[in-house]
Every structure is written in C-alpha cells, then in structure tokens.
Symmetry: C2
C-alpha cells in the first residue's frame, strides 16, 4: 500500500486526473467549477494525498529546492546564515540542500554539479574562496545565484555581505579614540574575499584617521584559525616594532592572540588591546570580553533568501550588492594604550617604560 497518487484522488472524486491536478493547484483552481474543485479537495484530504514532488519536478523542471553551498557548517558563522536563508524560503515551499565544500574548489564543482542534477531552482553560495576570478566562477549553468557573505567583483551575481568596511572603520575609530596610534592587523587568508577586503578596509580606515599604516605591523595568516592568530601575534611581538593594539581579521584569530597573551603573562587590555571580528557566540564571556565587530549573520542569510525569491518570481538577475549594517560590540579587551592612563606599576617605574617602546614590555 503505497502513497495515494493523483489518480487515486481523481478516481475518488470521479474526475480526470488532469482536473484533479487543476483543482489542487492554487494557480489553476480558478479554471475549475467550485463544486468539482471542492469534491477533489475533499477526496485529497480524505486520502491524505501529498503531491509527489519528484514527479512534479520532472514535469515542470522546478524542484522547490535551493542549493546552499558553505565551506563548513561546523564553523559557527554559517548556521545563522543558513537559518536565515531557510526562514526566508521555507514559507514559500522551498527546502534547502546544504553542502559543505571544505574550501576545496574541485569538490565544490562536484557538489554544484550534483545539486544541478537534482534540479535545484537556485544556488546560494556562501563560500569565500576567491581564486582566479574567471576560473572560479562556479558553473551555475544559468541557474539563479545569490552570493551570501561573499562578493566576487565583476561577476553578475547579486550578493549580500556585511558592511565590513564600516565595521572596521568603527573599530579603528574606537582604538584611535582610546589613544592608540600603533595598531597591528592580523589579516586572514588573502585568497578569501573577506580576508582581502578587511585588510583593504583596515588600510583605508587607518588613512582616514590619519594614522600611518606600518607594513611591519601587518601579518597575513593562511587560515582563519586560532593557531594562526597565535602564530601571527607571536611573530608581531617578536618583530621589534612597537604596537599597542591588534585588530584581528576574525574572532578565531583574536582567540589565538588571547592564548599568546596568557602564555607570555601579558594582560589585556593593559598591555595590549584586541579587537575581533564576527562576534561569535560566547566571545562576550571571555575574560576579558572581546571587543568585536558584530555581523548580522542571520539577516545576511535572510536577505540572501529574499534576493533568491526575487529572482525566482520575477525572472530578473540584477547584480545588486546588498550591504548589511554592522555594529561594534565594545567589551573589555580594549582600553587605553599602556602609559596613556599610567597604570600603577609603571607609574612608579616610569623611566624604563618611557625609554623603551611599548613592545619591550611584551618580551
């Protein structure tokens, strides 16, 4: 006893399957007399009829499903984005096919092919890797595409990203306002749109604040990982160039900085201020709480879902780039630079401190 089909419903209602189909589909119901429509609906109800989405899909070549491509769902960035996408699309009958690429372009291509073969109606890409701009346009084969949390310059895809530049501007303003002038940046991988963009934005924010950017205070990491952040900060501290604050490209990198400070017995923010990016869950609970740029991940997902719907309903493919507003969550990992508000110990032993640059106190 398998599931009831449209034929069963039609038979019970005493009509032709085509009629039953028309009655069941809101779009075509108006073509049917109210009485027969009613009979069909009743029969469907009684049999517990559920249209077979696969058959419908084969016929209409639409599947009411959207492929969502993320690097790794386990990265706390993505669940809220995915959830936002789902909440935007589910009310319209869409279901999500979520795949993880692990940042492997070849794997990504395979997965996208697999999604296409399942006739997804659209693709939302939240993968961040750039790569060669022309080679790495994923082959969507004319499918509607929306980029979430990613922008590939010069590609005709609508995108939703956080306004990273504004966030970084605010972060730098905050640090400069506290008195910092020597600000280091631990930049993420430069083959990701976010890593590259944030470094650029950092440079421009510094310029706008009239603070010189010292190339010796910039480190690029090969991954967005805690270890990499730790390595970068160690390197900076050992580099001999003084600095009183670090702006990390994301919270994981900032966490790595915390580790180094703990290892070396340095205090945050007394010895060094740290700013992160993303406002990951629980970073407010750290000791000290991490000052970080809060990104509306859920909203980014939701907006990406809306953009997808727009393309799906009207057929338009406007490459509009939506920038979602961000905010700075100021917590206790940032404070005035050392010396600025004369901390007790140094007050009494001011000489060595004044003579030696800040970085000395880190070694």
């Amino acid at each position: 006893m398998s599931l009831p089909t449209l034929r069963d419903v039609a038979a019970m209602a005493g009509v032709h399957p085509a009629t039953a189909s028309r009655a069941l589909n809101p779009g075509t119901r108006s073509l049917i007399s109210a009485r027969t429509a009613d009979r069909v609906l009743r029969a469907a109800e009684q049999l517990g009829y559920q249209p077979n989405a696969v058959a419908r899909s084969l016929r209409t070549s639409r599947s009411s499903s959207i492929g969502v491509v993320v690097p790794d769902l386990t990265n706390p960035l993505f669940p809220p984005i995915v959830r936002g996408i789902e909440d935007a699309l589910a009310p319209h009958g869409y279901v999500l096919l979520i795949v993880n690429t692990d940042n492997d372009p070849a794997h990504e291509d395979r997965l996208i092919a697999s999604l296409r073969s399942r006739s997804v109606d659209g693709l939302i890409l939240a993968t961040a890797r750039l790569g060669h701009p022309l080679l790495r346009v994923p082959d969507a084969g004319g499918l509607p595409v929306v980029l979430a949390n990613r922008r590939t310059e010069g590609l005709p895809f609508p995108s939703v990203t956080a306004d990273d530049a504004s966030g970084i501007h605010a972060a730098v303003a905050h640090l400069v306002g506290l008195g910092h002038r020597r600000i280091a940046h631990i930049a993420g991988p430069q083959d990701t749109s976010t890593g590259l963009g944030r470094l650029r934005a950092f440079r421009s924010a510094m310029h706008e604040h009239g603070v010189p950017v010292d190339g010796a205070l910039i480190r690029r990491t090969s991954a967005w990982l805690e270890d990499e952040g730790a390595r970068a900060l160690s390197d900076l501290l050992d580099g001999g160039t003084e600095f009183s604050a670090v702006f990390a490209g994301n919270d994981m990198l900032a966490l790595g900085c915390y580790d180094v400070l703990a290892e070396r017995g340095l205090r945050c923010p007394d010895d060094l201020s740290i700013v992160g990016f993303n406002d990951m869950p629980l970073v407010d609970k750290l000791q000290p709480g991490l000052t970080t740029v809060r990104i509306p991940h859920y909203d980014i997902g939701w907006e990406a879902g809306r953009l997808m719907l727009e393309q799906l309903t009207r057929g338009e493919q406007q490459a509009k780039a939506v920038l979602m507003p961000v905010s700075l969550s100021v917590r206790h990992s940032t404070g005035p630079p050392p010396g600025d508000s004369a901390p007790p110990l140094r007050d009494t032993a001011a000489a060595p401190y004044a003579v030696e640059p800040q970085v000395q106190s880190f070694e």
Copy 2:
C-alpha cells in the same frame, strides 16, 4: 540549449538509450561489452552529461537524499552532528535535506511530510522532544529512520546517543572525589529525552556513590537556556539548602550559573564548583574553564549515517541502540568544596566559616 540527456549520449555513441543507461550505471555496466561501454562513457564525458537525478528518482523511487530533522541548526550541538551524518553519507552519493522544527511538533509533521513527498530515502531525527509516546512517533510511513542524539523507549528505531549515564557517573565521581557531598542538579526540560535521562542518571550516579540525593537541590528548567540556568541557580542559592557543587544538565545552563556567580560576587570553584554537559566550543576559554562532559557529536552523526546506510543497503531495520563513549573534560570550574582544603583567606578567619554552613557564603 538545455543540458544533455541520456538520449543525446546514446545518439552520439550510436546505441539505444537503455544501453547507454546500463553502460553509465556501475551496477549494470557488466552487462555491456567493454567496447560499447567505452564508447558511451566517452560520449557522456564529451557532452558533459550529468544524469538527471529527478527522472531517475521518479523511475526508481529512490532519491539518494536523506532528510535530517533538527530542532535548530543554530544550536551549536547540531552542526557537528549534521556534519558527521553528511560525511558518512556523501561518499555514497547521498545529499542531505536539513529542516529545523523549532521544537514544534505540528511543524515537524509538516516538514516530514514535505520530505516524504520529495522521496527522501530515509529520515534521521535529531529532535529531542518526547511528548506522548504514541502520538509523537513521527509518521515516517515505512521509511528507514535513525534517531540521533535521541532515544524513544519502546520504538523500533535504531538510535545513536551519547552514553550520558557514563558521563554523568564520571562527573559525579569527580565531584565526590574532590570531597563534595551536597551536589545540586539543574535539570533540563523533562519533556526531552536528554533532560529526563540526565536527571535519572544523576540520581542513579549519586546512589552508586552513596551520596544522598536531596530533592531540594534539584531544579527543572523549561528550556536549555542560559537564563533558565541562572534562574535555577538563584533559586537554589536562595533556597536555604546548602550545597557545594552544581551539575548542570548542559553547558548553556552552566553558563547561566556563571552569570549568577558573577552577579553575587561568588567565586568558582572556591565558593561553588560547576560541571556542565556537552563541551560546547569555547567553554574551555571561559574563566575558569568549564569542567564538562564531552560528547562526541560528530561521531554520533557519523554513526547515525552509517546506521542509515546499513538499513538502505541491507533492508534490515534492527532497532539497535548505539551508545557513544563520552569523557569528562576537567577544567578549573571544579575544585574541592569550600573548607575542605582551607583556602588562604579562610585559614585566618576559620571560625565564621566553620560555624556557618557553606550555603551561607552564597548569600
């Protein structure tokens, strides 16, 4: 110019579509002469042929997709589970349809119906709500089902869960070993299998250690949320029954405890030891690091995926219950009970402390 179909491949190879189909399918390739198979493969390659999964699905009534039902992907518990499921199934060509129920049974039923209509080949349920045992068997309609992170007693579904009881046994052993005798439990919602099970396990672990369970030291929360944990601990502290340690039903509840301690100026573990459950990301970075029961979420997902594969390949539906081993991550939120190892301050002012029961210091 739409995508190439099997007909196109067959035409190019000069064979009948059925032959092409057999050549392309590893399972039936042996029925075909090597030469023609080769010709077909070559043609497919050249055309960039991708089998249409929808058509195949309609024909075979298998879809190579598995429905995964979770309460909320945004809860850090679930991404690793989902990832584990995916890693087990993806190599076998399966794709995941992930839906969030938000713990709404009606919504869950609708989603499962929607998954069924998409002919998923199986269902992995990671939703934890119990409800009436008979009413709340989701109507899988004969579909293979695996329960992940959930066990519904008396239902014929295979399940993969963490060995919560062992973990709780270890946690209680740890506390008792430190000298605690008055141990409170903040239990999660009792309409979830985990909430109920952990409370039971707590009781039994206490008995096994010969420590009396005081009903006044047990609080049930209505959700697995930080606020609820905070409320519960406040309530315990105000309850007038002394205790020196709290075992929280999960890490979120434990976080709520941290909040209360901070508010009241109490120190952990000097005034109160806290143990959590789950080992969520970053709880090791808290100050003090949270001692908690580490659950192998990824492995649970992976195992659930394996169990699903077993059902899919052999047709068996053994209701075996797999228990995954857990471990205790001991960190600094647990220590000897106050008074036990005479902390410095109290050493000098022993009298008031010795006179007043521990709970006094909490108020």
